[in-house]
Symmetry: C2
Subunit: 320 residues, 2 copies
Amino acid sequence: MKMDNLYIPVADGLEMVEKALQNIAEVDIPILAALLEYAVQSTGKKIRPAFTLLCGKFYNYNLDKLIPMSVGVELLHVATLVHDDIIDESELRRGKPTVKYAWGENAALLLGDYLFAQAAKSVATTGNQRVIELFAQTLMTISGGELAQINVLFDAKRAREHYYEWIAAKTACLFSTATESGAVLSDAPEEVIQALKNYGYYFGMAFQVIDDILDFIGKEAELGKPVGSDLMEGAVTLPTIIYAESNPEHDILEQIIDKKDRTEVAETMEKIRKSSALDKCMDIARDFSRKAASQLEILPDNEYRNILSGLVDLMLERKK
Amino acid sequence: MKMDNLYIPVADGLEMVEKALQNIAEVDIPILAALLEYAVQSTGKKIRPAFTLLCGKFYNYNLDKLIPMSVGVELLHVATLVHDDIIDESELRRGKPTVKYAWGENAALLLGDYLFAQAAKSVATTGNQRVIELFAQTLMTISGGELAQINVLFDAKRAREHYYEWIAAKTACLFSTATESGAVLSDAPEEVIQALKNYGYYFGMAFQVIDDILDFIGKEAELGKPVGSDLMEGAVTLPTIIYAESNPEHDILEQIIDKKDRTEVAETMEKIRKSSALDKCMDIARDFSRKAASQLEILPDNEYRNILSGLVDLMLERKK
């Protein structure tokens, strides 16, 4: 199986999502139209809307509701990236200059706000109060989770637990909203909704752990950003935490938080790469993936379930 | 009549809005709790939620729906102010340090996002799709309108028209959402909904013109920010536009946009104050107010209508 298998059964829906995203850029305000076109072009692989659609396949595949929900999920994702790039002062995103870098901070701030609103409006057109509230709660979780990272007093003993809370809010939450909403809008039974919600959550946790591993061993051309970005920005992710747990004599966490110079970051990266930390991270990603897969047992045994099951393994092998 | 009259018939509802706003600050993330408490404390006069409640008085005064809507309207207002203060680099808001100034830019950015989401969630609990979509559209209008101000090529001939578009998006839109949603949620007939929506719009237009006049003649202690803030920040508002129209030989607009030094700003302010520009602005504010008042004719002739009518005159006389 390939990652593309996710997209095949929902190709009709994804095409409509794509068109809806293009239409959003058709507005009267020139700068807004240009910004929206730029942002929509960079929406990447569309894995989240594909999940919403695929999770809608098990019961009533109601595109009238699934399309606006998928559009909302993707726009929310794009909006959070646009605001993240302000916070992280990132210059590149998927190999392209960030909105903040290309258009300035005020434009990026307002574009993000506009995209949140456009996402909310799209979700509102489903007329389904449960997913409308879920959508709003997702943005509360994401922004609240990012806020919790500001000025946090770093506690080495709580580092791993803290990391899991952080990635649950920033990544797993939106994956679980994507899968849960697909189930809700296709009138799935409540136990299926919960299973697909949990599948999305654990998938998202594994996805982020892999992301954080790739920041150590990926290739810049594939990642679309420099390797080692996290350490350079002072972000303590799982590989570093696991290395620090095994090497308590090394003041690595303090060093990273103090944002030392590039040479020291390169040395620290090399130490982590040579240690067993990355293997241990892969074990943790596999563990989350297994939890995701185990959710699928109560689902109807069909091609869609096979795809969801296969995706879990593929995601572990991804290189970008 | 006093401004307080707006609040008397809806005192029960406003107290519930106040409590709901306090409850929002009760979250587990310490920095978020502190930020929310700070933001909620500075929500000011609550004129917008009062409008929603008062416009809900004409028919079915259904507090189960009107309260969450009023909370959403106020939170949206606060969220836009928090983000505006990042863009304008303002240090003071209502006499208190802005969130950006007191807590830093990243905290202000994320707090604004969180407040948008909390506002959307509150509005979602009304279960009324029309106001949920109206709410999302309002944030699109506000952020799109602010974006339209960025890098705009200034055209003196279009200055007045451009100003009206700008204040419609940044101020009148939220007032009309406040009044329209109150009418919708109280099951008012469609013509009443339209009348109250238009009332809010014209009230908001007059409100912003008065705001822009006060930036020239108000007292710092009453405004909670320095007089002349607009000119200092390079914002071209109606008094300046009208002065420029009558004095085409003076390159005042270019001067302001180039953000000249404080002495020159003080001189320009003095020239505008001594001209007839501010009187002409008052005429325009009165004109918007009359349009607001004329909307009320089709409403039931009762105390609530009298209050809405009286507010229009009071607003023209406000000093802060």
